[in-house]
């Protein structure tokens, strides 16, 4: 199977891919892009809507005074990303006031008006009037200090020690501990979650990108008619194997480059992560990830190459891709939904379903404890999938690459499998 012809095809494929501008750009730009995306998100949250202009109205002067002193010392007020105006009004007055400010709120001169009635001291119910009342950023900024004022005021008439007061002021702090077979319990931060996103996203991007590349390459060979010259030296099977392994090796190289930071974190102490985002992944898991990726890539490259062979122009091929895209996109969403609920039955089952296992299992591995034998089983399923689809894919490829002209129907493609070619 690996004769000098396959090697020649393989070498050409790797050379063409690795030297291409697209590969180099993508290898460098994707990490930049991903970090950039996170950066932009942080930027948007902090800077993007810098000026909040909120009028805080409470029912009693005492409360207004306390709120003013507490809120003025918050960071967002200090760096003037939050500008507050204070006032004291009863309900009737507030209604009139709100009506008078309506236009300013609509014009966004005022972000919102917050009303804290005296009753809030009993039920902690506030009223917030704004064009965009569901602003989480604002409630994050205002919620804690206001809560503190309410608690302080509530308890100020009672004889409570500072300690008791502090306890009451305290919010909840969930610390996650991952239960594993290992001794002890490891405190787990957001690291695993980040890793799940990362793995799922990288798999998705790479499968689709490498797939599109081989699709274009097969179509080019077919439409430029070079394929017939090549087939006079190399069999269709050898050509397909060489191309897929060449693309697969290129993809593996790219993925390994992308994973260098992860590998460094797990196997060296060069990079120290802050405790909130420590990742608990072993080198073995990284190796599994790469192995799983390579098998999955080979499977999907086979499918993409086959679709490329069926059609003779990129437009038709794109429209013929949907079955393969579904095989990537559905597991992609399952993997993402698992972040909400790692133990969902669908996630568990689909990590053993052919095609889906390629994307779902790595995601599951990072957020839940997956026994080694299950990882091995998933790899075995990939290998079986490979063995099952390649004879069919090879046949369609062989018939397809020499066909030009009319766009074939799916029913015709099925007939090709029976052809003696």
């Amino acid at each position: 199977m690996f004769n000098n012809r396959v090697i020649a095809v393989f070498k050409r494929e790797v050379k063409e891919r690795v030297i291409s501008k697209g590969f180099i750009l993508m290898t460098i730009l994707l990490p930049v892009f991903m970090f950039g995306l996170i950066g932009i998100q942080v930027l948007l949250m902090n800077e993007g809507s810098t000026k909040f202009n909120v009028t805080v109205v409470s029912e009693s002067a005492d409360l207004t005074y306390k709120l003013e002193s507490e809120l003025s010392s918050t960071e967002s007020v200090k760096d003037s990303s939050l500008i507050l105006l204070f006032g004291t009004m009863n309900k009737e007055e507030f209604k009139d006031f709100l009506n008078s400010k309506k236009q300013e709120v609509l014009d966004e001169k005022i972000t919102g008006v917050l009303y804290i009635p005296d009753s809030a001291l009993k039920d902690k119910k506030l009223e917030y009037y704004s064009k965009t009342p569901q602003n989480r950023r604002l409630s994050e900024m205002l919620g804690r200090p206001i809560n503190k004022v309410l608690i302080d005021t509530y308890f100020s008439n009672r004889s409570l020690s500072m300690e008791e007061l502090n306890f009451a002021r305290q919010g909840l702090d969930f610390t996650g501990f991952k239960v594993t077979k290992e001794e002890g319990y490891e405190e787990e931060g957001y690291g695993s979650l980040v890793l799940t996103y990362l793995f799922t996203f990288l798999l998705y991007i790479s499968l689709i990108m490498m797939g599109q590349m081989i699709l274009q390459s097969v179509i080019e060979e077919k439409s430029s008619r070079i394929v017939e010259v090549i087939l006079s030296s190399v069999s269709a099977k050898e050509l397909m194997i060489g191309k897929i392994l060449g693309s697969g090796a290129t993809g593996l190289l790219q993925m390994s480059i992308w994973l260098i930071p992860v590998i460094m974190v797990t196997s060296t102490t060069w990079i120290m992560l802050p405790p909130e985002i420590t990742i608990s992944i072993t080198l073995l898991q990284v190796v599994y990830f790469l192995l799983n990726f390579f098998l999955g890539l080979v499977i999907f490259l086979g499918l993409f190459a086959t679709v490329g062979a069926i059609f003779d122009n990129p437009q038709d091929a794109q429209s013929g891709l949907w079955p393969i895209m579904l095989l990537i996109i559905i597991p992609f969403f399952i993997a993402f939904s698992m972040i909400e609920n790692p133990n969902s039955a669908i996630a568990k089952i689909s990590s053993f379903i052919p095609f889906a296992n390629i994307i779902v299992m790595p995601a599951r591995m990072t957020i839940a404890e997956v026994p080694l034998f299950q990882l091995a089983l998933s790899l075995a399923i990939s290998i079986l999938t490979l063995l099952a689809i390649f004879p069919l894919a090879g046949k369609i490829y062989r018939v397809g690459i020499l066909r030009t002209g009319k766009k074939p129907k799916w029913s015709e493609v099925v007939k090709w499998i029976k052809y003696k070619y």
């Binding site: 060979e221 017939e228 010259v229 006079s232 070619y421």
Partner: protein
């Protein structure tokens, strides 16, 4: 001695029988022409010979042994629809095509450069294929076909789409390969090229071999009752004449078939007697085109029966 033997090749595509029990022999050292109109089954036959298609029935033998990868390595194949990797450099393209034939290393590199110099492409050896003119791409394709020094050269409609310069270049390559004892097989629907170049041929029509053998023998056999005539005047009196079997106009010349070989002289006498000005009278001569029409009929070839001459 036969170099290649094609035995009962059959290929069906669904209900269409593209090639039907085709058998012919290609002798050592010959230039062999596979001749037929478009869609007759030439390309399918060649693809089966190359192992690109598996035949439904039949086999191809190379000096008595069924062809396999060994044969592929020793063939230089130029398909009708030619193509190159557009983004690849000229030299890389040549090395790649030699490599998939199992040839690589310094010797091939040296030869590639020699060929490029000879075909005036040496300056462009580091250019991308897409930057070459169409004519130069064709030259590059020829070099890629013969660089690995094949024993067999198979050319499918080699002259289609070539400019006159490259047509001559390709002819030179073919004749040079023949001199070096290589076997050349080509398919064409252009009878005049076949007539000039090949020494053996097989005619294929609607998937069936209708005629095969040595060109000179075939011509001798079918030329006996034929006269090719260039003239001025009115020869319509020949139509229906008891001595004449048929008259056909081939554009420049008129082909006349007499019923018995010895009547050719009588025909000449009759034409002279009738005052026809004879510019060329070639007895026992027949063009390949005439033979082809004799066997395959005229439909599809842009020729009409001469009715009223």
């Amino acid at each position: 001695m036969q170099a290649l033997e094609v035995k009962n090749l059959t290929k069906r595509f669904g209900s269409l029988v593209a090639v039907n029990q085709a058998s012919f022999e290609v002798p050592e050292g010959s230039i062999f022409g596979l001749i037929g109109r478009n869609g007759a089954g030439k390309t399918t036959t060649i693809r089966m010979m190359m192992g690109i298609y598996l035949p439904d029935e039949g086999e191809v033998n190379l000096r008595g042994v069924k062809v396999g990868q060994d044969f592929k390595n020793r063939v230089g194949y130029l398909p009708e629809e030619r193509g190159l990797y557009k983004k690849m450099k000229v030299l890389d393209t040549l090395y790649y095509f030699a490599e998939i034939k199992g040839k690589s290393g310094r010797e091939i590199h040296k030869k590639a450069n020699e060929y490029l110099k000879r075909f005036e492409l040496y300056d462009r050896r580091l250019s991308k294929v897409e930057d070459l003119s169409k004519g130069n791409q064709q030259k590059l394709q020829f070099i890629a076909t013969v660089l690995h020094d094949p024993d067999f050269v198979i050319l499918d409609e080699p002259f289609a789409g070539l400019d006159p310069v490259n047509t001559n270049l390709l002819k030179d390559i073919i004749l040079e390969m023949k001199e070096r004892g290589k076997v050349i097989i080509f398919s064409t629907h252009l009878m005049e090229f076949a007539e000039k170049l090949c020494d053996h041929l097989a005619m294929i029509d609607r998937g069936k071999i209708i005629l095969k053998g040595k060109l000179s023998e075939i011509k001798a056999k079918y030329a006996q009752k034929n006269v090719s005539l260039n003239y001025e005047g009115d020869i319509s009196f020949l139509k229906g004449h008891p001595m004449i079997e048929k008259v056909e106009n081939f554009g420049n010349t008129t082909g006349i078939r007499v019923k018995e070989p010895e009547q050719a002289q009588n025909l000449l006498k009759m034409l002279v007697d009738r005052g026809i000005i004879i510019k060329k009278f070639d007895a026992n001569d027949i063009s390949l085109q005439e033979i082809f029409i004799e066997f395959a009929g005229t439909d599809g070839l842009e020729l009409k029966e001469v009715r009223n001459v």
